[in-house]
């Protein structure tokens, strides 16, 4: 299935979860925030939150800024 991740279309396996996506991207869950279709997914829900075809996902973290 195809999702939009940070503005880029990518293909992921059916049945993927937020936790699985973070693992695939080698991102530490403590350091990111995830939004699926404009709703924030709490860290505690990453394992159970399944992704669907067409989902628009934003994964953000802290960078240098003033």
């Amino acid at each position: 299935m195809r999702i939009t991740l940070n503005g880029e279309a990518i293909d992921i396996d059916e049945g993927s979860t937020v936790a699985g996506l973070l693992e695939h991207l080698k991102l530490q869950r403590e350091r990111v925030a995830v939004e699926v279709n404009l709703d924030i997914v709490p860290k505690t829900a990453y394992d159970g939150h399944g992704l669907s075809d067409g989902d628009r996902i934003e994964i953000v973290h802290f960078v240098g800024g003033g």
Partner: protein
């Protein structure tokens, strides 16, 4: 009086350092970390951005211990209340803290705040339990409104972001200081150590800066200079300066002159 017992609080959290610094524009993460160390800052600002899907890149947090600093995520680059609120919600989830530096910009050239959108965003965020530190104009009415809404501090600009023009309207900052009870932090405009000292001598609770340190020829040395300037300015404010006089007043006694 020493600076050691001269602490201050934001939303019930106590801090010793009155210098808050940004983490942008450094040559490297290593330099960022060294400048933060030299500045003595306890509160550091960060921006919220999409992760780089090219995973090879290092992260700021590989160099900075989030246990050592209070991270203050900003909403830099947001031009509407909606975008700023969305960014703050993401920041809270990423950092597990309610502290946010709220900025809603109105214009790309000046980076002056859009105060109408700022108030709108601040109202929503305060209701949602955020500790809101808004970057705003050096406008006393705005600062009062932000206090009334429930912001934890007000952060009027000294001059445009990154301009290094210093405290362009110290009289406005003074009136703001007399008009609100929450901490007043000068955010933006500081170019040199003397600018930071001026902000503190006016009686501000603190100073927030980024470019003045990161853009200096030697950022580590400038970070230390800013630390000393903020401490010196604070001590000078607390010590109480002499009144300005037009004419001289001799420092040495007139009695006992040889002729």
């Amino acid at each position: 009086m020493t600076t050691q017992n001269d602490t201050w609080t934001i939303a019930g959290r106590e801090f010793t350092s009155r210098l808050m610094v940004g983490t942008g524009k450094y040559a490297s993460f290593q330099q960022t970390a060294e400048a933060l160390e030299a500045s003595g800052a306890e509160i550091i600002t960060v921006a919220v951005r999409r992760v780089n899907l090219d995973r090879s890149k290092e992260s700021l947090l590989d160099y900075i211990d989030p246990g050592k600093y209070t991270l203050l995520p900003n909403t830099a680059g947001c031009y509407t209340a909606d975008d700023a609120v969305r960014t703050c919600r993401l920041a809270r989830e990423a950092g597990m803290s309610d502290f946010v530096k709220l900025e809603v910009l109105g214009d790309e050239k000046t980076l002056f705040p859009d105060n109408e959108e700022l108030l709108k965003a601040a109202r929503i965020l305060v209701k949602e339990g955020f500790t809101v530190l808004p970057y705003t104009s050096d406008d006393v009415i705005m600062c009062r409104k932000l206090e009334d809404i429930g912001c934890a501090a007000v952060m009027p600009l000294g001059a445009p972001i990154g301009s290094g023009l210093g405290i362009r309207n110290p009289y406005n900052i003074r009136i703001i200081l007399e008009s609100v009870r929450i901490p007043v932090i000068v955010d933006a405009g500081v170019g040199s150590a003397s600018d930071a000292a001026i902000a503190m001598e006016l009686g501000c609770a603190g100073v927030l800066m980024n470019t003045a340190i990161a853009g200096a020829q030697d950022p580590i040395a400038m970070a230390r200079a800013m630390r000393l300037a903020v401490e010196a300015g604070r001590l000078s404010y607390k010590a109480g300066r002499i009144p300005r006089k037009l004419y001289a007043n001799a420092s040495s006694p007139l009695d006992g002159m040889i002729a």
